[in-house]
């Protein structure tokens, strides 16, 4: 019953409804700003539905793309890029938070001041990397590899520069440092677990801290999905990846309303699917925290 409620709320209400409302809002904004007559609004809605339920030929003649092609470009390029970026973001924040928290722990409880100073330098470097606009990094990558750089470098660049990784790491570091001073962590520390300096493996002190912070970290990560999708869209526009970003820009340039609405819908659907995956992780691992967050 609980799981059914979860599905109904997250998939039915939030994912599907927000995607439909978001598409309707953005499309209306577009039609409003180009001064479209009233009948074009209804026509846009009808052709959107026809594109997804009608024949492929019909969609090809109206928008230049069939629904299958738009969904395929989202599934083949945008979705994996967003998912890879999300995974790398989690990995980076876990590693940097472990390094920072273990440095604090060692400096405070064992007098290892040097490790704290090393981390301060690392913090400044990460702040500097975050200050570099993500599109400058993409263009630089383009200069080295041309318009088709290795797929894996895009998520790495997207997270490392531009502030996404910095913000997520900061969030987790401050949460873990807060947990470090709590009584239950102190009790766990007396059992003499390994510190887990580089990565918070289970059984280590940092692993224990991450476990305590996860109920707050997972919703935070879910909130970052739209920013990741936005950056992926920018990457697709800069490079020659035939994803939704490129389709969207082409649609805007050619003022192809049908294609534009379909591309926005699929882009928001990708966004909703990735957010739903993160929320499912929270629900499965920490159901009480999930309900509390509601």
């Amino acid at each position: 019953m609980r799981f059914l409620n979860f599905l109904l709320y997250e998939l039915g209400l939030r994912a599907i409804l927000f995607t439909v409302i978001g598409t309707a809002a953005l499309s209306s904004l577009y039609l409003l700003s180009i001064g479209a007559p009233a009948e074009q609004y209804a026509q846009a809605g009808v052709s959107f539905v026809q594109m997804f339920v009608g024949s492929g030929d019909q969609a090809q003649s109206r928008a230049g793309f069939s629904a299958g092609e738009i969904i395929a470009s989202g599934a083949a390029v945008t979705f994996p890029l967003a998912l890879a970026s999300l995974l790398f973001l989690i990995l980076l924040s876990l590693t940097s938070a472990s390094l920072a928290t273990s440095s604090t722990f060692l400096a405070k409880d064992h007098g290892h001041v040097k490790s704290g100073q090393i981390f301060k330098g690392f913090g400044f470097v990460s702040s500097f990397l975050s200050a570099i606009p993500v599109f400058v990094g993409f263009w630089f990558l383009g200069g080295i590899y041309g318009i088709s750089p290795p797929f894996i470098l895009i998520p790495i660049l997207l997270v490392t520069i531009g502030g996404l990784g910095w913000d997520a790491s900061r969030f987790l570091i401050s949460e873990m440092r807060r947990q470090l001073d709590t009584t239950h962590t102190l009790v766990f520390g007396t059992l003499g677990p390994p510190v887990g300096r580089v990565f918070p493996l289970p059984g280590t002190l940092t692993g224990y801290l991450v476990n305590s912070c996860a109920p707050r970290f997972i919703p935070y990560i879910a909130g970052k999905v739209p920013a990741i999708i936005g950056s992926v869209t920018v990457a697709e526009m800069v490079f020659s990846f035939p994803g939704l970003g490129r389709t969207l820009l082409d649609a805007l340039l050619t003022k192809n309303t049908d294609l534009l609405i379909s591309a926005v819908f699929v882009l928001l659907a990708v966004n909703a699917v990735v957010t739903f995956i993160v929320k499912t992780v929270l629900f499965v691992l920490y159901p009480r925290w999930y309900e509390k967050a509601l």
Binding site: G22, A131, F135, G143, G163, G230, T233
Partner: protein
């Protein structure tokens, strides 16, 4: 020692943020940008002037809306729940999409209008888009600590003296904790707007091939316009790699200042 490092940090942030001030001193053009053409000097100074205006206007509008929404979200539970759902919906749309949809389609309208009129409309459209995209995080950032303050012991004693909820919230809004929250929120709004403005300028330049739109120039668009000088060996006269790197360095400098401000605050928090 701690005081010295604090002073050094403040000086460092002031130096990093100086491009915004220097942009309003056109007499420094020839001194600071001696190696580049006068036309490019004008574009660099102009884009940073516009960025300053955009950031300040967005900050003013977004902060007012944030404070009002944050206040009423705690004052009325129903209003708070409704606004949270709406803001959640807005947050689920990538910011760059919101800006593209608000802005790009009106570019032809702006091109056909007079320079002064289109400048104002262009700024208004962008401020609207930037405010919308920054609101979910900033309202949450204000409403959460305000709610925490309201449920603390001293707020309960305020209630015992017969203060109304609205009056207690007004008092709490003026507290030191909330002033710190407003400062953090402002830095966050500035950073998000800066990123949005430049990414958006870059995309528009990439797609539409002009300096943003006719009335909205941005350092991001300037970087996109000069991107060929980085990797093109056969450069025409007057085009140097400096034309790409200069706006990049200035942009990194101001972003770093905001990040340091935000980082400081988060550590203090």
């Amino acid at each position: 020692m701690k005081k010295l490092s604090k002073i050094l940090r403040i000086v460092g942030i002031a130096v990093l943020i100086s491009p915004f001030v220097i942009a309003w001193m056109p007499f420094l053009k020839d001194v600071l940008l001696a190696g580049v053409s006068p036309a490019y000097q004008n574009v660099v100074f102009g884009s940073f002037q516009q960025l300053t205006v955009t950031l300040l206007t967005t900050l003013a509008v977004a902060m007012v809306v944030t404070i009002v929404l944050g206040y009423f979200s705690i004052l009325s539970m129903g209003f708070g729940r409704t606004s949270r759902n709406i803001l959640d919906g807005i947050e689920s749309i990538p910011a760059i999409l919101v800006a593209l949809f608000c802005y790009a389609p009106v570019s032809s309208f702006l091109a056909s209008s007079s320079q002064s009129y289109s400048s104002v409309v262009s700024l208004m459209v962008f401020v609207f888009a930037a405010t919308i995209t920054t609101l979910p995080e900033s309202v949450r950032g204000v409403a959460l600590p305000l709610s925490e303050l309201y449920h603390r012991k001293y707020s309960v004693s305020f209630r015992a003296y017969g203060f109304t909820k609205g009056r207690i919230l007004t008092i709490l809004m003026n507290s030191r904790t909330m002033r710190d929250v407003f400062r953090r929120t402002s830095a966050s709004i500035l950073l998000r707007t800066l990123v949005l403005d430049c990414s958006f300028g870059f995309i528009i330049q990439l797609g539409m091939g002009s300096y943003g739109t006719p009335a909205h120039s941005s350092p991001g668009a300037l970087i996109a316009a000069s991107r060929d000088v980085m990797f093109n060996a056969n450069l025409t006269a007057g085009r140097t790699p400096l034309m790409f790197w200069l706006p990049v360095i200035l942009l990194v400098s101001v972003s770093l200042a905001f990040l340091l401000l935000l980082g400081n605050d988060k550590e203090a928090e």
